[in-house]
C-alpha cells in the first residue's frame, strides 16, 4: 500500500515534468477521483468530522480536562457543570475526559481490525479467485463455515475462549470481518482475470506474480479502499456491543461501549451519562459510512461523467 502511494506520487511528478519539458498532456486517475469526492459536500463534511475524531484520539491527553481514571469521590454522579460539562460517573470520573479517551479505543480497534481483516481477506480472496478449482472450493467452504455463525455470538465465543483484552479483540473482530472482504475480492478477481488485458499480458509471457501485481491488484485497489472505510464503523459497533456485554474492553480503560454498559443503571437519574457515549458512537459510525459511500461513488469509474 505504501509503495503504491509512493509510486502514485512519483508518477505524478514524472507527468508534471513531462508536461513542462515535452509539452505532454497527462491525466491522473486518483486525482480525478479526488476531484469528484471534493464535489460531494456531505462526504467532505464527514471527512472533516473523521479527521477531528482521529486528531481527538491522538491528542487525547492534551484535550481531556481530567485524567480519565482519576476518581473524585467528592463529586460522584454530579450534574453537568462548568467543571464537568457532561457530569461525572459513579466513581466521580469526568465523563467528557472518558469519552475523549474512549475514541482511542474505538478508532484503533476499527482500523487495526480492518487492517487484519483486509490482509487476510485480500490474500485468501485473491488466491481463491485467481486459482479457482479445488483451492477455491476449500477457501469458499471455510468462508461459509465462518458465515454460518451469528456474528455477535461468534465474537463472544472467541473472546470467552481466548480471554479478554485489546489484542484478542483485534483478532476476534478480524476473524469476524475478513469473510466479507474475501468474498468481494474473490468476486472481482474472478471477473478481472478474464479481462483481455490480462490475456494480453499472458500472451507476452508475463508471470503470475506480474499479472497479480500489475494487472489485478491495481484494479481491485478502489474496492479494497471502500471495503476498509465501510468496515471500520462495523468494527466500532462490534467493539461497543462486546464492551457493553462486558467481554470487550475492561474498565477502568474507558471505551464508549463499556461506558454505556455502566451507565444503564443510572439512565433515569443521569441520562446524559449514557447518551453522550451513544452520540459519540453514532457520529463516528455515520461519518465513516457517509464518507465511505462518497468514496465509493468517487472511485467508481462507471459513474464517471
Amino acid at each position: 500500500m505504501s509503495t503504491k502511494i509512493f509510486r502514485f506520487f512519483t508518477k505524478q511528478k514524472q507527468f508534471e515534468q513531462d508536461m513542462l519539458e515535452n509539452g505532454m498532456q497527462y491525466s491522473s486517475f486518483y486525482g480525478d477521483s479526488l476531484k469528484r469526492l471534493k464535489k460531494n459536500k456531505m462526504a467532505m463534511f464527514c471527512a472533516v468530522i473523521l479527521i477531528a475524531i482521529i486528531l481527538m484520539a491522538i491528542f487525547a491527553p492534551l484535550l481531556a480536562p481530567y485524567d480519565p481514571t482519576y476518581q473524585d469521590y467528592s463529586a460522584v454522579l454530579s450534574e453537568p457543570s462548568m467543571a464537568h460539562p457532561f457530569g461525572t460517573d459513579e466513581y466521580g470520573r469526568d465523563i467528557l475526559s472518558r469519552i475523549i479517551y474512549g475514541s482511542r479505543v474505538s478508532i484503533s480497534i476499527g482500523i487495526v481490525a480492518q487492517v487484519v481483516a483486509s490482509l487476510v481477506g485480500v490474500t485468501l480472496g485473491a488466491i481463491a479467485g485467481y486459482y479457482g478449482g479445488k483451492i477455491d472450493s476449500v477457501i469458499s467452504r471455510i468462508m461459509e463455515i465462518f458465515q454460518a455463525f451469528p456474528d455477535l455470538i461468534f465474537a463472544m465465543a472467541i473472546m470467552t475462549f481466548m480471554g479478554k483484552g485489546m489484542l484478542n479483540l483485534f483478532i476476534a473482530l478480524g476473524l469476524l470481518t475478513w469473510v466479507r472482504t474475501a468474498r468481494m475480492i474473490r468476486g472481482s478477481v474472478m471477473q478481472l482475470k478474464e479481462k483481455e488485458y490480462i490475456e494480453a499480458s499472458r500472451a507476452n509471457g508475463a508471470t503470475t506474480f506480474w499479472i497479480i501485481t500489475k494487472g489485478i491488484i491495481p484494479n481491485c485497489l478502489s474496492t479494497i479502499i471502500v471495503l476498509v472505510t465501510l468496515g471500520i464503523p462495523n468494527a466500532i459497533m462490534y467493539e461497543a456491543s462486546l464492551s457493553f456485554l462486558g467481554i470487550g474492553i475492561q474498565p477502568p480503560t474507558p471505551s464508549w461501549g463499556n461506558m454505556i454498559s455502566a451507565a444503564q443503571t443510572f439512565i433515569s437519574y443521569r441520562p446524559l451519562y449514557s447518551i453522550m457515549p451513544g452520540i459519540a458512537i453514532m457520529i463516528t459510525v455515520i461519518a465513516f459510512n457517509i464518507f465511505g459511500d462518497g468514496l465509493r461513488d468517487a472511485l467508481d469509474p462507471k459513474l464517471k461523467n
Partner: protein, 334 residues
C-alpha cells in the same frame, strides 16, 4: 504476396490437427460431455502473409486463434513455430517465442488496463520481455511506436478511458507491434468500431504489414473485411475448416456449399441485383453433439444420403484450393 504455395520456404507457423475440447458441466449421474470448439484444424502460414479466418458466431474462430498462441491450452495437436515445437516449449523458451507472437483483441474497451497510462500499456510487453536495460530506451521505443500507429506522443501520460474506440484500438495495435513480432493474431480487431474507423484501422494494419513484414491471422465474421485484407482465406464451420484457398480463388470460385451461402449473404451495392440468395435452414447444431458424417449436412441444400454417413475428405482441388465436401466439383459448376 498472394503466391503462398512456395514449397522452398519453411512456413512461419504450422498447425496440425489442432483440437480444443471444453468439458461441459456434467450433471449428477450424467455422462461428462465435451464441447468440440475446435476440431482437427490444420493449416500453415508463410511469413508476411495474411490468413483470413471467417465463419459465423460460435464456429470456433476465436478459440482457434487463442489456441494457436496457447492462451487457451489446446487439447491436442501440433504447433510448429519456425519449425520449433511451440506446444512443448516452456519457461524461457516459451517466453522467447511469445515475444514473436502477439494478439490484437476485438473489444478496445476491455483490452486495455484502465489503471495504466498509454505509455505503460505499450511498454508492458517490452518490460515483461526485458527488451531494454534502461527506462529511457523503453520510453524512446514506446514514443516511436506511438508515432508509427498514428497516436500523438503527447498522449503518453494519459489513461485509456479518455480515448475513443478507434484510438484505443491503435493503442492495442501499438502494444502488439512494440516487440516487432513476426505473427499477430487479430481477433476481430475492427468489428467493434464504427464503419468509418474500420477502414482506417484496416489500412493501418496493412501499412504496418508492409513496413514491418508481419504475418497476420485475421479473424472476422465480415467477408468484405476479409476480402480487403487477406491473402489466403480459411472458412470455418462448427470447429472444422470447410474450405481454404487463396483469396481470389475463394471469392471467384467458392466450392463448399457453406462458403457459397456465406458469399450470397454479402450485400451488393446495385439495386435489383439478380443474384440468388442462399438461405440456410435451421440453427447451428450444438458443438457438444455435432452431426455425424459431414458436419454441415443438417443445413446443406445439396445434402444426400452419403453426407450423413461419411465424413468428407479435406482434399486439394488444385492450386492449394482445399475443400471438405463430397460434391465440391458439382458445387463449383452451380
Amino acid at each position: 504476396m498472394s503466391e503462398t504455395v512456395n514449397q522452398n520456404e519453411t512456413p512461419l507457423l504450422e498447425v496440425r490437427h489442432l483440437r480444443k475440447l471444453f468439458p461441459s458441466k456434467a450433471g449428477f449421474l450424467k455422462e461428462k460431455t465435451f464441447i468440440k470448439a475446435v476440431d482437427d484444424v490444420s493449416f500453415s502460414i508463410m511469413p508476411k502473409v495474411t490468413l483470413g479466418v471467417v465463419g459465423e458466431s460460435g464456429c470456433g474462430k476465436s478459440t482457434m486463434g487463442r489456441s494457436v498462441l496457447r492462451l487457451i491450452e489446446p487439447t491436442s495437436g501440433e504447433i510448429l513455430y519456425k519449425g520449433q515445437d511451440f506446444m512443448k516449449a516452456d519457461g524461457a523458451e516459451l517466453r522467447k517465442i511469445r515475444s514473436e507472437m502477439q494478439i490484437i483483441f476485438q473489444d478496445p474497451y476491455a483490452s486495455l488496463n484502465p489503471r495504466m497510462t498509454v505509455g505503460e500499456i505499450i511498454a508492458e510487453p517490452l518490460n515483461i520481455q526485458k527488451k531494454f536495460k534502461t527506462k529511457e530506451e523503453t520510453r524512446e521505443r514506446v514514443l516511436k511506436t506511438m508515432e508509427v500507429v498514428g497516436l500523438n506522443p503527447k498522449y503518453y501520460n494519459r489513461y485509456p478511458h479518455e480515448f475513443s474506440g478507434g484510438q484505443r484500438q491503435r493503442i492495442g495495435i501499438a502494444r502488439a507491434i512494440a516487440l516487432e513480432p513476426s505473427l499477430i493474431v487479430c481477433d476481430e480487431p475492427v468489428s467493434a468500431l464504427d464503419v468509418s474507423i474500420q477502414s482506417q484501422v484496416l489500412n493501418l494494419l496493412k501499412d504496418l504489414q508492409e513496413s514491418m513484414g508481419m504475418a497476420y491471422i485475421f479473424i472476422s465474421h465480415n467477408l468484405s473485411v476479409i476480402k480487403h485484407i487477406s491473402d489466403r482465406v480459411m472458412v470455418m464451420y462448427l470447429g472444422h475448416v470447410v474450405e481454404m484457398a487463396d483469396k481470389n480463388d475463394l471469392f471467384s470460385n467458392p466450392s463448399h456449399p457453406y462458403t457459397q451461402a456465406l458469399m450470397s449473404a454479402i450485400p451488393l451495392p446495385e439495386r435489383h441485383s439478380s443474384r440468388k440468395k442462399i438461405i440456410l435452414q435451421g440453427e447451428l447444431p450444438s458443438p457438444a453433439n455435432p452431426p455425424s458424417g459431414c458436419i454441415f449436412h443438417t443445413r446443406c441444400f445439396m445434402a444426400q444420403d452419403i453426407c450423413s454417413k461419411e465424413e468428407p475428405e479435406f482434399r486439394d482441388l488444385g492450386n492449394g484450393h482445399m475443400c471438405a465436401c463430397h460434391f465440391c466439383e458439382k458445387c463449383q459448376n452451380q
